[in-house]
Amino acid sequence: MRGALLETGEETRRTINNFLSRLLQEKMVDAILAPIETSTGLVTPGFVTNPEKTHIIDVLAPVIPGVAMATVVSQITHEKPVEKRLGVILKPCDIRALVELVKFQQVNLENIYLIGVDCYGTYPVIKYKEILEKGNLPVENVFEALNKGGETEFRDSCKVCLNPVPIYSDLCIGYIGIEKGKLFIEARTEKGEEFLRKLGFKLLELKERNRAVAEILRERETKREKYFGEAEKELNGMEGINSFFEDCIACHNCMEVCPICFCKECFFDSDRYSYVNQNYLEWNPLEGTVPMLQAKVQFHVGRAVHMASSCVHCGLCEQACPQDIALYKLFGLIARNIQRIFNYTPGRSVEEKPPVQEFKEEELKEFIG
């Protein structure tokens, strides 16, 4: 699709914010939901309605603020559509989660314009703060990594992410495959093109961008295979799983932050899930030891069975874990294998139904009998 090339120079963030200000000024949107900077330098989702206050928006911040933007959109639209026109800024994984939530009737996209942002990778929160403390700008590190090909300090799920560019959005703010000091705002839908035309941009097409993205994907495919190959070895059999979850404190944080885990009342919070307390002492008498919090394996594997067919590989589960368990290894691996059987990519399009919502008359013969 076509788009507009913006000269940014060194002022990448200000250029984007000016663009967002103009969207507000020209009354194309009434509010923008975007990652806004907090006093500690991190970002958190927030609304901006005043075109003069867009300077707190940090669109390119290479960090995922605690909760996924898709979850925020779901919170404000799951009961009824928003009345005002809302521009939402999302990372590629956020958009895929949002599309999945639309399919599960948790998000209503009426009056919502999606503005996607390229994402070459994000840092763990601690690493992000470290970079800030050193006085560097994390986003500059990302640009540097993009140019040199190094990306060693990203989160694991980002290192093996196959979607650095948003799949589904009205507008897309792109920097991958664009020369330094420039940004490409791509119109993906007619609405997006209308926005850009109204703002008076000259629209053009950029072919080399696709080539750059394909290059990144090729590199990451191999990394991904290697990563999941190792995960498969580690998570083999009950012993592997038990020691993987040895430190789990069953706080259910991974479930809380997961954008796909949308149920208001979780099966794993219900009485049906809890064990009777006295059982603990009766179990496992031969081994002589009974570590507590036994329902961990059931919780994690059960949760994987529930959500893995729509897992968008955002890795938020891993980021939210207070015990630093590399949860993406488990959920990512299971999700990849399940999505492979159904040949399903979550977030590819709103029309496509998720595996748990449809079936074919003749299929899955190898799983019968």
């Binding site: 998570l235 799983i241 030891t289 067919s309 294998n337 748990v356 019968i368």
Partner: protein, 143 residues
């Protein structure tokens, strides 16, 4: 009890419109099949959340036998086809984690197939006997 003695524990989730009726038919026609299966009658195979199967395995079952109607025969139009997808997801998850997915089976059994029910249960019990105790029972980390 001898130490090596292993009698498999099998949990059966049977659809009340077909497999449970087939189990009844097997009983009334005095067919012999292993008593290892503990049948649980459910309203439809599509009702079974894979987590129940997982829980059965973690709580000591060596195998789980799920039976639903033949495709097209579901009393609730398509519950068995939805169940098929869920079982596939569960089995793939177990396989990914190296947890012997063959301990879960999904079979189509229609109301009149009492003898087939007996045969399938026998076959499954023998298979589980051959596999030995389920590794999922070891839900404890041995410290």
């Amino acid at each position: 009890m001898e130490k090596d003695y292993f009698e498999p524990v099998i949990v059966g989730f049977l659809c009340r419109w077909c497999a449970a009726a087939a189990a009844d038919a097997a009983g009334t026609s005095r067919l012999h099949y292993p008593p290892n299966i503990r049948p649980v009658r459910v309203n439809c195979s599509g009702f079974i959340d894979p987590v129940y199967i997982l829980r059965a395995l973690l709580e000591g079952a060596d195998g789980v036998f799920v039976a639903g109607c033949r495709p097209g025969d579901c009393h609730y139009v398509d519950g068995n086809l939805k169940a098929r997808r869920r079982i596939a997801i569960l089995k793939e998850t177990l396989k990914t984690l190296g947890l012997e997915d063959q301990r879960v089976v999904f079979e189509y059994i229609s109301t009149s197939e009492g003898s087939r029910y007996a045969e399938l249960v026998k076959k499954f019990t023998e298979k589980i006997r051959g596999l030995g105790p389920s590794p999922l029972k070891k839900k404890f980390l041995t410290v």
